[in-house]
Symmetry: D2
Subunit: 352 residues, 4 copies
């Protein structure tokens, strides 16, 4: 029997993608979508690209009401702004729903770090301990039994998946990590702001949020948990004129000093083996071989992340690069991956 699924706040880019994924999910059935803005309209009326699907003509957006949602859904996705998601999560969990939150509200374990980065007290600090950080490749077992999953941010996913195995294996130093990221404009959301107009973004490349972007908090917390020490990361996001995609370039310091091609070869074997062990059987992590380097166009529309790396004997550094679709592996796809795990479905169900 199919699980009944609801999406709260389905008017933005992540919500739209959740609708797409869940309309075609083999084991989930979309039973409710909410949006104050679109309440009363059918999915087909709001998003004409889904109109070919039979459910799009009948399923209507409703006002978000936790009690009603809890009655009609087994799983609820929250695609709401930061701060608002927590309010909805509490009653839904009390009513026995599985909740997958795409906002930042439950991603941190520490309420103090939340306050430092988000500027206000956490609205439901008790739930922080119960929530599981929804990075399947790292926390699959915890996700399996979780009632509340905090789906990771798009930037953190692109940084954590390439870094954690190396850190866990002791191959790179936990300090001094630099993550330089490029992201498409959908990451800014569907907000009518001048700086995201076509004319302002096309033929433009620009950094922003330097040096203390909010996503740093979850990147650092997750890396600290792995490293067993407090990790501070340099993170510089850039806006580039693509709709979707994140390309992250990581500058890492191998634990072992090397400065020759021979030494790089030996070290390279360890890195290759480390990644192979970590991700060799992962359905959504693609370890590139040979001369291939990540390219966002190769992951667009998919839940995959591409990873490649190069050792530079001239500088003694390890460069790791990753590419993902910020709305899929960086948001809605990964959230569905968590749902699949929570519900005991095949992990790739409904995802490519």
């Amino acid at each position: 029997m199919k699980k009944r699924v609801a999406i709260v706040g389905a008017s933005g880019y992540s919500g739209e993608e959740l609708i797409r994924l869940l309309l075609h999910h083999p084991q989930g059935q979309l039973t409710a979508v909410t949006s104050r803005q679109h309440a009363g309209q059918t999915i087909a009326q709001v998003f004409s690209r889904f109109a070919s699907h039979p459910a799009a003509a009948t399923l209507r957006f409703s006002e978000p009401n936790p009690e009603l949602l809890a009655k009609g859904a087994d799983v609820v996705f929250l695609a709401l702004p930061h701060g608002v998601a927590a309010e909805f999560a509490i009653p839904l969990i009390q009513h026995g729903c599985l909740v997958i939150d795409l906002s930042a509200d439950f991603r941190l374990k520490s309420a103090e770090i939340y306050k430092e980065f988000y500027g206000h007290d956490h609205p439901a600090p008790d739930l922080l301990a119960k929530s599981v950080y929804g990075l399947p490749e790292m926390h699959r077992d915890k996700i399996k039994g979780a009632l509340l999953v905090a789906s990771p941010g798009c930037y953190p996913t692109s940084v954590l998946l390439p870094t954690i195995p190396l850190l866990r294996a002791g191959l790179v130093k936990p300090q001094g990590i630099i993550a330089d990221s490029l992201r498409g404009v959908s990451g800014a959301g569907k907000k009518a702001e001048t700086e995201y107009l076509f004319v302002e973004c096309n033929e433009s490349a620009r950094p922003y949020g330097i040096p203390k972007h909010r996503h740093l908090s979850e990147i650092e917390e997750q890396l600290s948990l792995v490293a067993g020490e407090s990790v501070t990361v340099q993170f510089t996001p850039h806006l580039i004129p693509v709709n979707r995609g994140i390309l992250t370039t990581l500058y890492l310091a191998p634990m072992e000093h090397f400065n020759s091609n021979e030494h790089a070869l030996r070290l390279g074997e360890q890195i290759a083996e480390c990644y192979q062990t970590a991700y060799g059987t992962e359905p959504f992590v693609r370890l590139l071989e040979g001369k291939a380097l990540p390219d966002t166009k190769n992951v667009l529309g998919t839940n995959a992340i591409e990873i490649a790396w190069r050792l530079d004997p001239r500088t003694g550094r390890l460069i790791v690069m990753s590419a993902e679709d910020n709305i899929l592996k960086g948001a809605s796809g990964q959230a569905v991956q968590s749902m699949n795990i929570m519900c005991g479905f095949p992990e790739s169900a409904g995802l490519v």
Copy 2:
């Protein structure tokens, strides 16, 4: 009286931009343009966007012939592939022309480094000592008396201008520098290659040439000259879907350790003063203030480079960002700036 100017190899993007700049130059007169591909056609026929200019209808592309060029031109720009430029430079200099080369042929002082990065012996090692690296903000006095100017690469310009003043003032460490750059597709030239097709570049972001791009050689040589020691740089170029523009993010280590906002403030004053001293009166270097960060769209079509910086007390690093038009300040505009200096024209003549 106007100087007579020729462009050799004017069929690519840099050559086209040189034509534009020189057609409207107040003190230079374009007397010859060469291109094997376009020989016999007028400028208006090849580049219809210049057709409104009277000279475009009469000036025809010719086969490149150094002797004929030398008779009709006082200044010759070489917009040729690497390796080919050197052949042309020798006879032109012998005939008394001022030569400004946009290729990499004369940018290095060391013939060995040339061979290491370009894979073959330098075709005219004797000229290396005579050529001047055409970065006006750094080598204005030498450019003034030069017979041969090697105009810098687009990436090196975006790295060197932000870095050199800090290095010279001893504010940052010469080792461990990372330069992460994004560049538009025009940087790859007007070559019919599948990887630069619209469909392959649009909605794509990708690194390439990792970890040892050719432009590293001139970046490192110039920084080494300033630092008085051998400098090795980590440089990672990325291709992004814009026609023009380079956005470079530099990760630097201040000589002085800092880890508080107060300390950052004091150090920041020194950095601001250093840049102000170096560039306060430079016509084409724009030091951004307040919250402004570089954006390639703000320099498109201009010879300007924008620079901004941030100190991060969490990591102890200095982040410096620059934006330039890769075809102007990164190539043809800077070359004309050098011409202006060589010929005693106002340095901004014909440039915006």
Copy 3:
């Protein structure tokens, strides 16, 4: 049991999309892909975006060999250049394969018109009578029993689907039709030609192939068959900087003269009813309502075509607009739709 499916010439954009569709098709199994260029490589090596699919790691491109293909496949898609497809079709049909050809080789009934538009004799004129024009909404019954389906061109699909019902119902005049189309760059194929470089297409909009584009031949032949008279169409294609999508604007003359809003209302009811009758239950034709107008972004990645229309009482004209994904409804998606019909699968199988 699944049908075994092969793709001949799977290296271009249409071929790549066929691979994507067939890897995920519920009732077809991809058993062979051919490409001279990629022979020996796996699908995952050539198209990394498919690498998550198990078959991508094992299925290798082979040299195209009709006899071998016929042994291993029940259905063969030909994604080959015009002129080459015919050579392959003949032996495949002789060996009992169902053939779906995406080239123009079998789209015309008349070998003379073929010669007029393609400049050489038709390579297999006997097959012209046997082939069925694969526009499912028009020729579903014939496709059902066909051995050879000629899948329509992308432009013709965008013109024919909006026009045919009106013409058939006698609501518009068969003469004087104008079709003005905008198409993304993927329509030009994956060819390394300077005019399709990113820099040459970005920030560019241009007409081409004016006034006698090859696709006119099949547009006119199909419309003539419907109208029962020889129809001549004005067709002006334009290239715009998007990867995918066709937006066609049609200028039609209603059979009935009208010049008032009231009259337009009455006539509009007839048009609405005509379209409703023709397409009300079609899974891939979307009749827009209210103020909605077609937008290529709403059909990207889908097999749908959007249609809207406006009567203009000031000019007495009917404007009909359509939007489709040129690689899906305009090529590979429609071809799979035909396969579904030929094989007795649900018509939407494997398509969204």
Copy 4:
């Protein structure tokens, strides 16, 4: 001595371009720029791309005040929304300023047509008779003595320049004209609206304003004046993902019926001669020859309009295509061209 020039409402795309043109104008001196939004800031602060110009650091945006403006300026450009411009024009003209209005307020001669298309009474109907429609190639003599010039809309310019000479020469029929236009997103202005966000425009092509766009009113009025009869035009604008540029395709009916290549040749000679006579010496109209067709990228950043045409003996139609930069020849460049004429400057002064 330089004329003193002011720009009222210089915060949008047209205003920004006027600033650029006037900062570099050889015979005009920018003495005032107004903007409620930016009042108090320097040009350099608001538009960093102009910061290299000395005046950008000192000239500050002010609140718009007609009396003060009139004291400090000989020429005033109004880059204001429709309806607001008229209010400013009246006092400025009374104070003896030459006024060039980029809005639609004074483009029509008929106050009734204004009301029909703009939905409210004209705010200053008396001035309609005094204003001159600022299409220099058509109304140069009247512009010379004008006190108030209404600079044409971007779409009308792209339609009128290709059509008027043919209509005047009696070569095409005045009725049945169709103008199909593609325009970049800057044409929608710098407004924070969801439909103009990067993600909503990129990979999108869509018609809008069908069938009765406001610009029709001035197109029809101007064509009616030339034809000596009331002309009704079919006009369909489309939005495409470029920053700038208009590509217009016109479908015209030659007065003389033709249906053979020979006849087309003879008729073609008349058309070529007609255009040559009209535009052979115009600095900003480029008649393309041979196989060349208009391309917006060839006119970007220039005040030029490209025109090409094809006769189609199959349909008996004449297809005329034009390309212009919607912010230059379509707005600010053409306005400066009018200023040059009004002030007795060379018509190309400050324009390329």
